[in-house]
């Protein structure tokens, strides 16, 4: 990571709302974060806190008839949210790409794996049919799929979940993007396969200068790969810190809760120490004040009335909690 350079991507006060039958839902509710060239940023939070919607909003992949995104997403000096659809389209897949959570459903069942990689290469890199195919095979090799020449010609149903996710990674990386969103790339896989995929991502990342936004609710994965972590809760950023301080000295009670619920290996296999009590609030009926207060063990009077401001401290940390503000 190089922080002397300007950020590659800056998200400023981004709000994404869905128009649902029950009303307007702010799935992402005013978030800010930066991604610097070459770094791996972890985006963590419980399921439903708005991680995927954040990534989809940046790439403008949400259906405009049901979702609206406001704010700014500055990429290489330009606001992606203001860009013409045509210009945005050319950035997708070539400069910013995405790895999805579900390898089983994210590949087109009636196109060969090779074709699904090659079509990107023909489009963005202007390769001809033959060159694109060769490069697709190379990409499959790069993601360590055995006998890539054969696999390229096969349809996704012939591949295992882990192999499909490798193919998905090959697809996302084939045009050498400078930014990749990896949305829970291992969640749908077996534990052993998970480790392999993370190792692969780590390996691919080290050999390049691309930035990765690693979205996960698995702090073990974060500890392994990310340099900096943004913690989200109910559509907002609640804490940000470099990975080591975050693990050793979390400031937001929600982050503490997440860290306490990391599974540790006991004699009987994996068990959770503690879950954060309570449930994620309904986006239609957000609690007043701090949105975490119904579940917070350290809730104070003010927490139920006023929402805590974001406080920056120690050069590169920030948190939104009255406990931090009081210090």
């Amino acid at each position: 990571m190089n922080r002397s350079e300007p950020p590659l991507l800056s998200v400023r006060n981004m709000i994404t709302s869905f128009h649902t039958h029950d009303g307007i839902v702010n799935a992402v509710n005013g978030i800010d974060f930066d991604i610097f060239p070459g770094e791996t940023l972890g985006l963590v939070g419980e399921s439903g806190c708005g991680k995927s919607v954040t990534a989809m909003s940046v790439l403008r992949l949400l259906n405009p008839s049901s979702a609206t995104t406001l704010g700014e997403v500055i990429f290489k000096g330009e606001n992606l949210l203001d860009m013409t659809p045509e210009k945005m389209r050319l950035i997708r897949g070539s400069e910013i790409s995405m790895i999805f959570q579900e390898p089983m459903t994210s590949l087109n069942p009636i196109l060969t794996v090779g074709e699904q990689i090659a079509e990107s290469l023909r489009l963005h890199e202007k390769l001809d049919q033959e060159k694109a195919w060769e490069k697709a095979v190379q990409m499959l090799k790069l993601v360590q799929i055995p006998s890539p020449e054969i696999r390229a010609g096969q349809y996704p149903h012939k591949l295992s979940g882990g192999m499909r996710q490798r193919a998905m990674i090959a697809m996302a990386l084939c045009c050498s993007p400078c930014l990749v969103f990896a949305d829970e790339p291992t969640t749908a896989l077996d534990v052993t396969i998970q480790a392999q995929i993370i190792r692969l991502l780590d390996h691919l990342k080290k050999g390049s200068n691309m930035s990765v936004v690693l979205i996960t609710h698995d702090l073990g994965v974060i500890a392994r790969m990310a340099a900096r972590v943004v913690v989200m809760y109910a559509g907002k950023v609640v804490e940000e810190a470099p990975v080591v301080p975050l693990f050793h000295d979390p400031r937001h009670p929600y982050t503490r809760g997440l860290l306490n619920s990391i599974p540790v290996l006991k004699n009987d296999g994996q068990t959770r120490l503690t879950e954060i009590p309570g449930i994620v609030p309904n986006l239609l009926h957000m609690p007043e004040g701090c949105s975490f207060h119904p579940r917070c063990s350290r809730v104070m009077d003010i927490c139920t009335k006023k929402s805590p401001p974001m406080v920056h401290f120690m050069e590169n940390r920030r948190a939104a909690c009255w406990l931090v503000s009081d210090e």
Binding site: F100, N108, I110, S120, H157, M168, M171
Partner: protein, 306 residues
């Protein structure tokens, strides 16, 4: 594939046997006496009795069925009581007309129905979607004979562009094809719309978008190709129905096809003719189904017949 084909072709035999059995006994439960119909209202009871014996109608039913089956094995469908021609010859004369009309109608229906459904699905709840929905509603609910007559009045009688009926040139095909296609085009458009909506919400379409592909490529290559799998089933079934369901259209436009032959035969209690033509329908229908199943293998790589 060959093995699969042989198995499927063989399995047609019990299906046809079932049809013939059901048909044979159901026909004979109908009121009305074919010998009487053939002899005419004025015939004496003695004449009717002689005709009945000639036709074998005095035998017990199971013997009649046995005779029918024995002839069937030799591809002999009997002789039409109404025209005294071999049934197979009558059918053979009309079958090409029926197939031609059904092919034209299904082609028209696909040509208009699939694009209409796609366009509606791309912009759901837009004016164009409502237009397609409205047009489909018309197509589905319009009585065939009424549509046929209207087309005839406008294009044959008033404008005199097209012949009002009969068979011969491509011009004779236009109005019956449109009439016959009207329901199917609407049905296919509705089906395409819902299949496309379903496919467009799939994860792999989002993946395709995330790669920056052109919208056209996403719609046609990634979405429509997947949606075609269920659409093919519907088109196949509708084609099968068109082969047999053209009675009204054939009547309005005096089109010499199988549908009218069946109706005429039923009115005349022409057992051999009815049995023959319905068996042929059954055969065509099962063949169309087989064809549909075979097309799956070409469209969907997950389907393999080995």
């Amino acid at each position: 594939m060959i093995h699969f084909l042989m198995k499927r072709l063989l399995s047609i035999i019990p299906v046809l046997l079932g049809i013939s059995l059901l048909l044979f006994f159901m026909l004979r439960m109908l009121p009305g006496d074919p010998a009487q119909v053939l002899a005419g209202q004025m015939a004496s009871p003695e004449d009717v009795r002689i005709i009945r014996i000639q036709m074998g109608l005095d035998q017990p039913l199971y013997i009649q069925y046995g005779v029918f089956l024995k002839r069937l094995v030799h591809l002999d469908l009997g002789v039409s009581a109404r025209t005294q021609n071999p049934v197979i010859q009558e059918i053979w004369a009309r079958l090409p007309n029926t197939i031609l009309l059904a092919l034209c109608a299904i082609t028209l229906a696909c040509l208009f129905g699939i694009p209409a459904g796609v366009v509606a699905a791309i912009r759901p709840y837009s004016w164009i979607d409502y237009l397609v929905t409205l047009a489909s509603l018309f197509g589905i609910s319009m009585p065939v004979f009424w549509l046929g007559l209207m087309l005839m009045i406008v294009f044959s009688i008033t404008l005199q562009w097209l012949p009002a009926g009969g068979i011969g040139t491509w011009k004779h095909l236009v109005l019956p094809s449109i009439t016959l296609a009207s329901f199917v085009v609407a049905f296919i458009a509705r089906m395409t719309r819902s299949c496309m909506l379903e496919v467009l919400s799939q994860d792999y379409v989002t993946t395709a978008r995330s790669k920056g592909l052109k919208e056209k490529v996403i719609i046609v290559k990634h979405a429509l190709k997947n949606a075609l799998i269920p659409i093919i089933t519907v088109v196949g079934l509708q084609f099968g129905l068109l082969l047999g369901g053209a009675v009204l259209t054939e009547t309005v436009f005096a089109w010499p096809g199988l549908g009218r032959l069946i109706v005429d035969s039923i009115l005349a209690r022409d057992y051999a003719m009815i049995q023959g033509s319905i068996l042929i329908f059954g055969l065509l229908y099962t063949l169309v189904n087989l064809l549909v199943d075979m097309t799956y293998a070409f469209v969907d790589p997950r389907v393999r017949y080995d």
